[in-house]
Every structure is written in structure tokens, then in C-alpha cells.
């Protein structure tokens, strides 16, 4: 099966994020950049499907030349080749989905696997938008993906339990936390990744509308919560919750 995995470069989840004083963005000095954790799960799932069924895993990202780094990491995990859609300007989810839809039209994968959300903008939009633009079914928040011929059955993490849906390929699946535990790139994997194909395509050569309809005007630090006080015992804790905070 040919699987396309869109990935995004994001700050390491352990990074402390600071908003710049002028509100124009976040401070990026000392930020370590990684593959969005949910996209890493998507790469892992794609590799496992390929290991069972054969096929090809193609990575794609939309960003600056430096994003090659994350594509190389994914190639070192075992993906076959990668595409970097070069773009420097800020794009909204609609534009990202349009770019992906265009490339998917050329690449013709049977399955698109990607993270349920990127942990930088926390939008949780691109997979669903892409599925609609392609006219494909979607399964978001996947915790299990099973195949029988061309039919896919997906277990989804929803409010209050697990939901199971089924459809025929092609389809878009977005990954949740418990789908798998991503592998680390091995040293031979890293060596091999250097020779794998990484194609660059300028975003503006694709002929899709890139003008953002969602604009971020400014960023601000959230209101800071003041630390309270320490209590000495369980008895004191229950007492203050009852008489002072009046919540129990």
C-alpha cells in the first residue's frame, strides 16, 4: 500500500514557550525542533502497515529548507522518500490542506496518515479538511487501524468511550496517542536516510490559493496563576477546602 504521511516541525514538547514582548510570535532561540509527536505516531503506523503489506511510505512537509531535518529523521525511521513543499510565509489550515490535496492528486496514495493535531497551533484541522477536499472518508483520533482487503476499520478515541467506523480506501486517518509507540531511528537507518530521495517543490508552483483567511494578529502570554500555599497535613487540607475555599 502506498501511504503518504504529512508531518510538521514543532518545538520539542518539553520546551518552555515564551511569547515575544511585541506579541509577534514566540521566542525561538534555544528551541529544539522535532517532528510533531502525533505525526511521529503516524510515521510509525505507516511503517508497520508497510512491513505487513509491502508498499511505500512517502513523507511530506510544508515549510522552510530547515524542515529537511525532520524529513531526514522520518527517513531514518524507515520512510522511503520525502517531499518538501518550500514555503516561507504563514499558511492557514485551508491552504495547507489545499497543498496536500494537490500533491496527493499527483502521488495517488491509498492512505494518508497524519497526527490529530500539531502541538504548536493546536488547531486539529488539516486532516479533516484534506479528507473533505479529496472527497475521502476520514477517521480522526485513531487508536487502532485494521485492514481487510480494501476495507479499513478504525477504532476512535471519542468522548466517553471508543467508537468503531469502517470505510473503503482511499481514506485519511489521524492518529491519537495510544495507536503505537514510535521507534527510534537506528544508526544504519540514519546512514541510509542520507541517500534517500528528498524532493523540493516551491509552494507557489502548485497553482493553489495560499492566501490566509485566518490571520493571527497578535500573541499574548496567558494570565499567570499565582501559586498558593502549602498545607501541613491532610486534616488541614480538608479543613481549608471546607471552610476557606468552600468547595467541599
Amino acid at each position: 500500500m502506498k501511504i503518504l504521511v504529512p508531518i510538521k516541525r514543532v518545538p520539542d514538547p518539553a520546551t518552555t514557550i515564551r511569547v515575544l514582548p511585541d506579541g509577534s510570535g514566540i521566542a525561538t532561540d534555544n528551541v529544539k525542533w522535532v517532528i510533531n509527536p502525533f505525526d511521529e505516531i503516524a510515521i510509525e503506523e505507516a511503517l508497520r502497515i508497510k512491513e505487513k503489506q509491502g508498499g511505500e511510505v512517502v513523507l511530506i512537509t510544508i515549510g522552510q529548507s530547515t524542515w529537511q531535518e525532520q524529513l531526514r529523521t522520518g527517513l531514518a525511521m524507515g520512510a522511503d522518500r520525502a517531499i518538501l513543499i518550500k514555503n516561507d510565509a504563514a499558511l492557514d489550515s485551508l491552504a495547507l490542506a489545499r497543498i496536500l490535496a494537490k500533491v496527493i492528486g499527483d502521488e495517488n496514495p491509498e492512505l494518508v496518515l497524519l497526527g490529530k493535531q500539531a502541538i504548536d497551533d493546536d488547531s486539529n484541522q488539516v486532516g479533516q479538511m484534506l479528507a473533505e477536499m479529496l472527497g475521502w472518508p476520514q477517521a480522526t483520533f485513531a487508536s487502532k487501524v485494521e485492514f481487510a482487503d480494501k476495507k479499513v476499520t478504525v477504532t476512535r478515541e471519542v468522548d466517553g468511550g471508543l467508537e468503531t467506523i469502517a470505510f473503503n480506501l482511499p481514506a485519511v486517518v489521524t492518529t491519537d496517542l495510544r495507536l503505537n509507540e514510535p521507534r527510534y531511528a537506528s544508526l544504519p537507518g540514519i546512514m541510509k536516510a542520507r541517500k534517500k530521495e528528498l524532493k523540493e517543490i516551491p509552494a507557489d508552483s502548485l497553482g493553489v490559493d495560499l492566501a490566509p483567511k485566518l490571520k493571527i494578529k497578535t500573541l499574548a502570554a496567558p494570565p499567570k496563576r499565582q501559586a498558593g500555599r502549602k498545607v501541613g497535613s491532610v486534616q488541614e487540607l480538608v479543613q481549608v477546602l471546607h471552610t476557606e475555599a468552600k468547595v467541599i
Binding site: A97, D159, K230, V231
Partner: protein, 324 residues
């Protein structure tokens, strides 16, 4: 112009609190943008439920009916709603960012060619919105540009709508769903069995972290306290990652966002991504043996203690308090 279509999500024949939150946010948006708030209830026979939501202050309810809308699936619902939005000439579609809202709204936005704002926490008078980014470490002021806009709201950022004096009229509409937009088959819903309140609706939430050390300890150590307090149980991502509890208990950036009156964090260090899901709680209590744990920086009351001793003691104290 300015009309707001509110997607009134229902589960098992009733509206969860998050739907009343969407109604209230929809009423606020309609007022600020000078339009009407119209609720939409989708289903195979949605009339009775439509009558329910009509009591909450909206100006009209549309009962959108079609056999393919019996169970929630994204493609059929997006197609039916997009057709309705165009027909009604609405400027906004609004839903709460529940699992359904998050799944549906972006697909609907793409079908309408509309920009979408996820999980907004405020509707500004000047036409902009506030939404958290980077696990809530940055609050963005954003602008949506286009004749139609799609918005999901964060359930904890708006109050639930209250019943109004009179009920709005219910209008039945047969949905139009192109067969090409009905490719998904709903197979089953496996509901987590629990007598406890829902995480997103509870007045008190007690959450456990990696400090609990095992799934068994969630049952034997944490659950007695949870039940003694009449609370909902939550967990940190670390506890979910370690396989102690299912993911639908996860509180945090990538799980549920809660803001109860009382949040008790037990054995949770307080990683950024967990704080993103609970730091708007009214009162936060942290119980952790590591006094340097970052959770103490946001806690109103902190107790540095071994949770395996403190939690059973607290359950016991709660019992005493109830009987005093």
C-alpha cells in the same frame, strides 16, 4: 447577515452540557455580530430533541433529518450541514470542541471554503477572537476573513445556556446528502461504563499521574477518594502513556480541558501539557511527594506527602466531614 448556526450535538438521546455551552456562545456571537442564533439538531428523527433545545433562548431550531444522520459520521454530517448553511445564508457555524465538534467542524469548513477557528475562549467586540496555542502558553488574537466562518468553542470558557421564558419554533428540514458524501459506516460505540460524573461536567475532578505507579493503584488508592468526593476521575498523559488508565480520562493539551470548582492533582508533576487542560480550575490542590514539582506553582493548596498515605487519609477525612 450575522446569523449563527449552532450545531447541537446529542449523545444517547440527550444534550450534554457542552451543547448548552455551544448554545450560550452562539447567543453571544449572534448578539455581537448582529444576527440570529439558530440551533441545528441532526438525526434520523430529531424533532423531539429539537423541541428540547428550543427552550434555551435561540430564535429558531432546525430539525435536520435524514436516514444517514442516525449515527454521527463526519462526511454525511458535513455534507448535510454545508447544504443547510448555504440555504439559510448563515455567516457563522459554531460547535463546542468535543470529539464530535473537532471531527466535524474542519470538514464542514473545507466544504464551505471557510476559515475555521479552533477552541476559541473569547469573542471580541471588534470581530476578532481569542484562542490558546502552544498548550495554552500563548493566547492568540485572530481574525477570520470570508463570507462564512466556522468556529469551535472551548467548553470551559463559556457558561451553559439557561432555559428562557418561551420556546422557539422548530422547523423540520430534510437534509440533502450526496451519496458520494456518505462513505463512512458507523459500526459501534463502546461506552466506558461508569457511575461517576463526566469529566467535562463534574464540579470536582480528582486526577492521578505517574506517581500512582500502576492501574491497580488507580482502583485501590485513588478511586475511593474520587467516589468519596463525588468527583469525576481524570489522569495525566504520563499515566495514560504508561497504560494505567484509558485515554478518555486524559486531562491536558491533547486530552480533555476541564475547569471544575475543585481540581485535585495526585502524583502529577505538572508538565506543561497537563497544565493546559486544568489551569482554569477554580481551586487547584496538588498532592505530590516532590516539593519541587511544577504543579505546586499553580496549586492554591499544596500538600507535600506520600500519596499512598495521604490519599486514603483524605478519603477518610471526607467521610468524617460528610457525617459531621
Amino acid at each position: 447577515m450575522g446569523d449563527v448556526l449552532i450545531f447541537a450535538e446529542h449523545q444517547g438521546g440527550h444534550f450534554p452540557k457542552t451543547t448548552l455551552t455551544a448554545v450560550n456562545a452562539g447567543l453571544e456571537l449572534a448578539k455581537k455580530r448582529g444576527g440570529n442564533a439558530i440551533a441545528v439538531v441532526a438525526g434520523d428523527a430529531p424533532e423531539a430533541l429539537a423541541g428540547e433545545i428550543a427552550k434555551y433562548g435561540v430564535s429558531k431550531v432546525i430539525a435536520l433529518a435524514h436516514a444517514n444522520l442516525k449515527n454521527y459520521v463526519a462526511d454525511a454530517h458535513a455534507a448535510a450541514l454545508a447544504a443547510l448553511v448555504k440555504k439559510a445564508g448563515a455567516e457563522f457555524v459554531l460547535a463546542t470542541a468535543t470529539a464530535v465538534g473537532k471531527d466535524l467542524a474542519p470538514r464542514l469548513a473545507a466544504r464551505l471554503g471557510a476559515p475555521m477557528a479552533s477552541e476559541i475562549t473569547a469573542i471580541n467586540d471588534d470581530g476578532t477572537y481569542i484562542r490558546p496555542m502552544y498548550a495554552g502558553n500563548a493566547m492568540a488574537t485572530i481574525e477570520l476573513d470570508g463570507p462564512v466562518k466556522v468556529i469551535t468553542v472551548r467548553g470551559t470558557a463559556f457558561d451553559a445556556a439557561k432555559p428562557a421564558d418561551s420556546a422557539a419554533s422548530v422547523e423540520k428540514a430534510d437534509a440533502e446528502i450526496d451519496p458520494s458524501a456518505a462513505k463512512t459506516e458507523f459500526v459501534s460505540f463502546n461506552q466506558t461504563k461508569s457511575d461517576r460524573p463526566q469529566l467535562t461536567e463534574a464540579r470536582i475532578v480528582v486526577s492521578g499521574g505517574r506517581g500512582l505507579k500502576s492501574g491497580d493503584n488507580f482502583k485501590t488508592v485513588l478511586e475511593p477518594l474520587v467516589d468519596e468526593m463525588g468527583a469525576a476521575m481524570g489522569a495525566s498523559r504520563a499515566a495514560v502513556d504508561a497504560g494505567f488508565v484509558p485515554n478518555d480520562l486524559q486531562v491536558g493539551q491533547t486530552g480533555k480541558v476541564v475547569a471544575p470548582e475543585l481540581y485535585v492533582a495526585v502524583g502529577i508533576s505538572g508538565a506543561i501539557q497537563h497544565l493546559a487542560g486544568m489551569k482554569d480550575s477554580k481551586i487547584i490542590v496538588a498532592i505530590n511527594k516532590d516539593e519541587e514539582a511544577p504543579i505546586f506553582n499553580v496549586a492554591d493548596y499544596g500538600l507535600v506527602a506520600d500519596l499512598f498515605k495521604a490519599v486514603p487519609e483524605m478519603a477518610e477525612e471526607m467521610k468524617k466531614l460528610k457525617h459531621s
